[in-house]
Amino acid sequence: MDHISYESDVLIIGAGGAGLRAAIAVSEKDPKLKISIISKVYPMRSHTVSAEGGAAAVIKDNDSLDDHAYDTISGGDWMTDQDAVEIFVREAPKEMIRLEHWGCPWSRQKDGKVAVRPFGGMKKKRTWFAADKTGFHMLHTLFQTSLKYSQIQRFDEWFVTRLLVDDGRCQGAVALEISTGQIAAIKAKSVIICSGGAGKVFPFTTNANIKTGDGMAIAYRAGVPLKDMEFVQYHPTGLPFTGILITEACRAEGGHLLNKNGYRYLQDYDLGKPEPRPVLRSMELGPRDRLSQAFVQEREKGQTLEGPYGDYVHLDLRHLGKKIINEKLPFVRELCLKYENIDPIKEMIPVRPVVHYMMGGIDTDIHGATALSGLFAAGECACVSINGANRLGSNSLTELLVFGARAGESAANFALNQNGSSKGLDFLYKNELKRLNKQFLNRTGGTEKIVDIRKAMHHVMENGAGIYRTEVALSDAQNEIQELKSKFKNLRISDTSKTFNTELVGSLELSCLLDIAESVIQSALFRKESRGSHQRSDFKNRDDANYLSHSLAYRNKNGAPEIKYQPVAITKWPPGERIYGK
């Protein structure tokens, strides 16, 4: 087998919003730095593209950085690191304006200034939006702007299988070129992982097929801890069969959630009183975790509707009228018409909570640096943490920019202070070649089907680590995941082709998903309290005395997660109660 290697200064894994922003930051830091971006899909296919609602940053006079920080911290149920949040809200407006200067088609006020809309859990209107395709426009703006820099070399449709760690620092990665099956070492002085989340460990998710936690898994396998993995955000309004997201903007514009009796049931769950017009931080504009939990309780009371793809409630937009729906929510209407055969102008939309976002991820500091020297991370795959136990809607797109840029800058600085790579890399590369050949490329026999393991994993996660969790269910889930991991060793790969072998890619992804699933379950099992998106039926209250700390899942020698804790950074907002609807 040929030995192929490429050299660069900064290697970025993932070409979504965070990865592209990081690449631009490195380019700007020093034009001499050679940048490689590896992505398993073309940049414009990255999941940033699916984000609909908007991106939060303080820009209006009636708003303040402290307000944004407080909404973020209370929204995160005080699991957010407040030093990180302070930096985040401070740098957010500048980042958003830069994106505007690069051409992002933000929706505007009549006077030509950027328009903002309200969003769940926010006291003030501060969400910038590009109609309801904000992520799409941000991603394409970043991608097209990145084309300006000739020092950015892209590896489109390459799949990273392992980090190259030698001499105590990360010096690149081994990657598979999907179109040819070649495996190459891509050496670099510093590496940034921006590979997105892992929603695909769950069955019902708004996440795209590519969200399989690969970057999280390779960092975890390289000894970097995954932080706060128990916090998984459910979005209260997804379409039942496809998991397609119906944006929060629907509710911000005045949409109502109704149970089977046509009743706005959120008023029964400490989320305020129904008003005809939307009220910030109240009712349908409460935070995502509380809305998703209200759905489950409503279902237990038998007040939800039953459909072929599980139980659901109704999102009613009809009273908004044709004009508002067409102007402010055109994509929502398009999605409903094309994928559910429903017209929201005339009909109610069936919705249910679906997995949307991983608050947890690769543990980083405020500079995007991980515990492994030379390795940085940003975006959904990382956990700084500004999202705490529940991410506030419209903070994640801004996070891509702020922490993508910061990680880019840090990685550039790191690369500028390094000389060449160490000798051991070639040995590590050859070892990885051997492993891939043995476990995946040249494997024969095997009886377990990818689809069976994947479906079983979905079942385990939904039952054991869903919206409400218990000790018993989590322990069972952990055992079942162990079984699936041993089944995985006996996987059958029927496709032996070197050319665009998607079955091979699927099996590599599945191995990552299983590691992530395990870390989610283990972190959830150890957190014996309820906080934000992590709700334990057997420990119903928040327990600041014991658990005001981040969980860190380390991979031990046997490949299983070991949980440690690290205190939450508190600067000026002592833990308080999360109050909505008042």
């Binding site: 000739s150 892209r154 590896f155 489109d156 449709e157 070129e177 179109s179 040819t180």
Partner: protein, 134 residues
């Protein structure tokens, strides 16, 4: 140069068949529109021959007119005329795509642009017709 790093593997490229344009109505219409250029060329040649004939005096002019009255050439002229009308119609129907006219904030609707093209066509035809007939 591209920024993409990809080694070239083998790939398959389907050739366009010669009759590719017969598979879709829009392509047939397109090819017909292109073919009408032959009609334009035909009229241009006739016009040049006509001017040539006139310059050589009355006799050759009547000779030319006589020639033009032969059934084959009449049919050719009719076919060419129909082709050119077809070309004009398809072109005017497409005009709104190429012409975006705005009065301040107000964008003139496509149908108005299309109809004003037709109106211009008719007006010019009437003027030219009167000039020729009288």
């Amino acid at each position: 140069m591209t920024n993409t790093t990809k080694s070239s593997g083998k790939s398959y490229k389907k050739e366009m068949p010669i009759l590719w344009w017969t598979r879709r109505t829009s392509h047939i219409i397109f090819v017909m529109r292109e073919l009408t250029s032959l009609g334009v060329a035909y009229f241009a040649i006739i016009l040049l021959l006509l001017i040539g004939a006139i310059s050589q005096g009355e006799e050759s002019y009547y000779e030319f007119i006589k020639l033009m009255k032969s059934p084959i050439l009449i049919w050719l002229s009719i076919i060419s005329l129909l082709g050119l009308i077809f070309h004009s119609v398809t072109w005017f129907n497409l005009a709104p795509k190429a012409m975006v006219v705005k009065f301040g904030k107000y964008r003139i609707p496509g149908i108005v642009i299309m109809l004003s093209n037709y109106a211009g066509w008719i007006v010019i035809s009437i003027i030219v017709g009167r000039f020729l007939l009288y």
